[in-house]
Amino acid sequence: MDTPSQPDSLLSRGSHLSDPSQAYTFHTDLDNLSGGTTETALGASISSIHKISTLNLRHTVDLRAITYGGTVDENLVCPICRCPFVDPVLTDCDHVFCRACIDDALSHGELCPVDRLPLSQATIARAPKMVFNQLDALKAKCPCCGNIFARAILENHLEKYCLEAMVRCPGSLSEQGCTQVVKRRLSTQQCLHYPAQCPDCYETLEQIEMESHRQTLCRDRTKLCDYCEVEILRCEEIEHKAECPDVLQICKWAQYGCQHESKRRDLYLHADDCHFKSIGPMAEMLKVEISSLRDDVRNLTETNQLQERRIKFLESGQRASDRPMDLMDLSLASMPEAASTDSLDSGHDYLLSLLETQQSRLSHLSAELSDFQGKNTMMLFNETLPIKNELAELRSTQQVTCMHVRWLMRFRMQENQRRFGVSPGLASTGGPDGGNGFGSDITLSRRLSDSSRDVITKL
């Protein structure tokens, strides 16, 4: 194990795979990973989803070793390394090179490699952004899964998504602390780095290598097929049996009674002679027909049950609403049923429609109520108006009568004065409140009640 503090260990621990995949390097240096993203340190304690994501390894893609899709524009190819530019720079003689390439070339002589004009490190500038954009958009083949991506997202793809790219073994997060790497498509399972025995050659090897071992490496990986004697892989025996031409197979009309059995390759010979060849298709057709009819029956039974339930519900509802309003109730309740019997499939729909009817009825009622209230107010108003008028008339009549009475009183008093020679001033001072002529009139009229009766008789 390298100590993580040595920067050189970074690449030495990353693995170069066989020839085409030299294009990328992944960094298994865990300290470096956590230092860069701090995800590892957190993820181990948070959630399982987070754990999976921390299996990611940092990938570095060698952009000079990957394959590009289609032909790359010659203007985007570095004349020194003959690859699409990597970190392009522009010289003051207007030539573009990869930064690494021109650095190398200048270390051997300060001339532009293309036109041999003097060129120094100082006059080299970053290439225009447009060049970078064009390079980022180049279609590059993923060195692991072979799919085509824009060059700029290739590293991200390898780090996070590519199923064939290497990630840390899921065992690294469990107590086992596995330090190996596996392909991402295998990382959803448990750690597969445990010894297992090959069922073919009985050799002991790691489970993770079993698949490729059984397919390409195992010395006992092949066998002769029991039937056709063709060499097949043991791990694909079952698949082969399903299509082996020498396996015995029964006639396709066997379920209708054909007893014939022959090798798969000869079965077509029997197909013409089979006694069931005319009955078979018909039976098949009937079978389909019957099953479809059965389905129909089942559907109909269901509908029937539903409708029965609805009828029961309606009947019970009718009984409950046995009141004076019954007639109106019925007419309204029957509305949804009459309008949309077909569309109401389930009890829920029915109940809902019932609810809606009730609601509309309620609103209808409230409208009527307010109408009625209005009418009532109107009527009340109409009734009270003449009463009020009459009242006012009566009041005025009463006033008039009062006036008459007063006048008569006065007249009467004057009559009395004249008759008995009593001065009105004396009479008024005799009362408790002399200022009030009206009050004194009353006292007078009381005192003189006998005499006034006389006057009336006289009148």
Binding site: C81, R82, C83, D104, H108
Partner: protein, 153 residues
């Protein structure tokens, strides 16, 4: 070696695709030594109906450093007669020296330069002091300090 082999891989892929007339690839096993045949296409009497074999030796710092290019001398592939080509196959061409080389050059462009160098030649002779040079030289071509005097080729 990585840089050189990547660049040579690209060149090889291109050479397998197409080569200019008169140039054929003989072997290119690995990225250290390639053999190519060249022919002079026009009717130059000195090289008529002759094929010459070139040996390219690449250093790990190719294409920053030039490859070592010499003519091979076999029974059916002679070393062409030229005032700048010694009889042991060493070529005096500034393109192949440290000074004249540019990383922009490649195997194909070297072959074409040599083709045109032969095409334009009219002297059926070896360079001055050929015998002495061939007898005494133990150095590798790249270490020889040629004096590039002749700008006509």
């Amino acid at each position: 070696m990585a840089f050189a082999s990547k660049r040579l891989g690209k060149e090889l892929a291109k050479i397998h695709g197409s080569l200019p007339p008169g140039i054929t690839l003989v072997t290119a096993e690995g990225f250290q030594e390639w053999l190519l045949d060249i022919q002079v296409l026009d009717a130059n009497p000195i090289y008529m109906n002759k094929t010459f074999r070139l040996k390219f030796k690449f250093s790990p710092s190719y294409p920053i450093e030039p490859p070592e290019v010499t003519f091979l001398n076999t029974a059916d592939r002679p070393v062409p007669m030229h005032p700048h080509i010694y009889s042991n196959g060493i070529i005096c061409l500034d393109l192949l020296g440290q000074q004249g080389w540019s990383p922009v050059q490649n195997v194909e462009s070297i072959c074409m330069s040599l083709q045109s160098m032969l095409t334009g030649n009219t002297k059926n002779e070896r360079p001055e002091g050929d015998e002495q040079f061939v007898a005494s030289n133990r150095r590798r071509p790249r270490d020889i300090d040629f004096y590039y005097h002749d700008n006509t080729v």
